[in-house]
Amino acid sequence: MSGTIIKISGPTVVAREMAQTRMFNRVAVGRIGLLGEVIRVRRDEATIQVYEDTTGLALGDEVSDAGEPLLVELGPGLLGSIFDGVQRPLDVLAAEHGDWIARGLKLPALPRDRQWVFTPLVRPGTQVAGGACVGAIQETEKIQHRVLVPPGVSGTVLEIRGGTFTVTETIAVLDDDRPLAMLQRWPVRTPRPVAERLPPVVPFITGQRVFDMLFPVASGGTVIVPGGFGTGKTVVEQTLAKYAQADIIIYIGCGERGNEMTEVLADFPHLKDPTTGLPLMQRTVLVINTSNMPVAARETSIYTGITLAEYYRDMGYSVALMADSTSRWAEATREISARLEEMPGEEGYPTYLATKLAEFYERGGCVRCLGQADRQGSVTIVSAISPPGGDFSEPVTQSSMQVAGALWALDSDLAHRRHFPAINWKRSFSLYAAPLDPWFRAQVAPDWPQLRIDLAALLQKEEELQEIVQLVGIDALQDQERIALEVSRLVREEYLRQNAFSQIDAACPLEKQYWILKALLLFLHYCRERLKQGWAIEQLLGSPFRAELERMKETPPRDCVQQARAMIEKMGQEVGK
């Protein structure tokens, strides 16, 4: 099927004689076959968004319709890959075509010549349905790649063999001679089905104190991270990609900087997965569509990423999806909508922006996977948002906030004073905190929730006291209040602040998080008691306990915990619990 171009405007092309096409079909545009997707059909005219630069296209050029939507390739070999927004392997592209991205190149996402050892897990004669696991491949040292019957397919296994295969070779045959290969394809915009959605009960452990302690997110939860430029969104995304506990990380660099991706590419192969000790790249898939790459592919990169995430979730893994930044995706949507001359909504975004955002976030979650054997998987979404002028009242932040379970609000003022992560604890929230309490109580310490409450109360108290100081000066405060101010400052500096580039403190295990905070809060109690006993504030500020607390986070976890416990004991002895 093919039509001819009758209009070209930026990345949007209109073609005639396209009556046979369908929405979201994949097309090849022009002589060099630029990749495109049908986004509107009207009589025999189709509007196409082109994933590559349209320079050189002319009226009358051919548009040929693939007759199927844009598909994501799924199968072993995804881990460690670096794709662009439409899943072309960027490393292969660079090796074969040079440093600059040429147009019209078609490359399979998964290498066709690579051999995998396939082990069947069912016998011939087994009845299988969508999602059923028929066999496995050791994709990396840790990840066993489960080959699933595609959703929607069911039948009897007639034949299945173990051995070494490429991704396209037949590994099993279902009745009616339907072959099954490791390589499967899935429409990029369609969510993959699940058996059941489950409530989140396990935390997504980030190793960042301010997140795990104050604003924890559930595994399978959604958190948005809005902040003006330079407030630390990318560092949050990258730090979590490095240190958070998850089986698989899908990192989407959506419309952001090239050099940031270079850092990831340079660093990840040398870093170790915090849980397995294996090279970090083995649990990671990168989907990169930097700001200077075509806009339409930026729009797709989010869908490519989430489809990959769902695919590993369906195998029963916990997947974390880092999207930096969702705003660039929304803006791409806006650009395309403007070219379609749709009625604009707020700030020029299409009126369906909120729906599209919600649909994306809804693809995260904790699930019971489709098919045999029984397994659970999750997709946690960490979505960076870049509000214009750092103003959160804009549509992308607002619409996202309505569906996200947690908000980590970044703050320019904190960033300017180099307090990182620049989390504004007043604006941030997490709806997961209460549901996760039982887990923290059971797994870390029974008083974990209480520590969070005490910490929040102290910060709140500081806020109130600061207001007084701003009005009438520090002299207006009682010693008990002044010490609260001082300890709160200590907590901000030594607990909430966490340097992502520190050797020791970049990631902080939960136990260490717990004990430092416990020591800090007890120090406040200690100071209060001492004041009652007539000690002077200066004496307390010069106390060796304070000095010790100031160096605690830069102490390796085991020593730190010991030190904190010893200190707590000592303070307790001195003033009584």
Binding site: T55, A58, L59, L93, I101, G255, N259, E331, G348, P388
Partner: protein, 476 residues
Amino acid sequence: MDDLITREYETVSGIAGPLLFLERARTASMGEMVEILLPSGETRRGQVIELSEQHAIIQVLEETTGLGIAGTRVRLTESAAMMDLSPDLLGRRFNGVGLPIDGLPPIIPEARMEIIGRPLNPVARDKPAHFIQTGISTIDGLNTLVRGQKLPIFSGAGLPAKELAAQILRQANVREDLPSPPSPFKGEAKVGASAFAIVFAAMGVTFREASYFLQEFERGGVMEHTVVFLNLADDPTIERLLTPRYALTTAEYFAFTQGRHVLVILTDMAAYCEALRQIATAREEIPGRRGYPGYMYSDLASIYERAGRIRGKAGSITQLPILTMPDDDITHPIPDLTGYITEGQIVLSRELHRKGIFPPIDVLPSLSRLMNLGIGPGKTREDHRAVADQLYALYAQGRDVRRLAAIVGEEGLTDSDRRLLKLAQDFEQEFVNQGEQDRDIDGTLDLGWKFLRYLPKDRLTRVKPELIEKHYGANG
């Protein structure tokens, strides 16, 4: 032969603002450059930006004054905008669309490249890693510039951005072999002269401002290493949409074909954005924030992202764009979108300028995102990161105290607050205010320690005890 291929149309149906509408131009292609032939024999240049069955829309790159429908012909060139390239470009001067304006003949090209430029594959990029000493403490010490970085100067009307840029040019060592720091401007140009090049692109700036830079190049003796593109305030507005692209195509040639370290100065990006807005308005596009087109982010990215290094290639492109923040407003879309793309920003402050401080760099909102890649042992000094972090924290606190003191008076301050207040004061007067001095990195960091010593050792919680022992000195 030529005549057979060249296609000419006499079907101009309308002219609106900088746009020309051409009917039934069936053979035109997207992005193609065209020549507009006036009945007077004059020609102007344009570019195809939209095609439909009704008409082709041509963006006229020069004045539309005097352009009419009758008798005007449009000739398609069958080629997108291209730049002729050769080492002979050095020392030459061009207008905003790459035509010589120095009275010399066009160069004989060794290569020809489309100015649009394909996106660099992120996988092909190499991590920036080399410290560039600018001799300016607030930059070297706190917001370090790294080779291959794009670091804009956010200025305000009347603030000395060009003086700062000139000082950087004068003092910066863009050459390979640090630490011996001599700069091109200090006679270095003669020795190992091929290692660097400067590409200067002016967009919509006044003649006075442009000549300031040219004089600086002359003064420093680097003119023969510089390629100049000038689109001045009274030059055609639309032309300046192409100016940075000619400049960056040239920069890429020198960096990645000739292996040089290229410093690109783009000034003023605000004027570029105005041109972008003008085209969008003429096309009756739905305006985005404050009338700027919704695609301005992507458009700016297609300029700023043309900085960096490539694996296996010797050269690099470092960008120093200058932009004037309308109304000193950093949330205005021009600085805002820029800050979202560039690897940090150097922000000038009117308040410091009024106090007579030069360069009036406000370090708090300033940032170099690549700083960590360019500093530390073997590059600058082991205490660099810590000194910077601690200075930032203390100066920020000092400014808070200053605000507080304005309300409750200095008497209401604690002793440590008073120290912070003095620190903020002296830091601005000495560390920031360095005038024309050229400080090496040791000088900058040592000076930093001077202010850290305003506080007792145990208050320097962002510095490791070992470093304090080493640098703080005996007192305190």
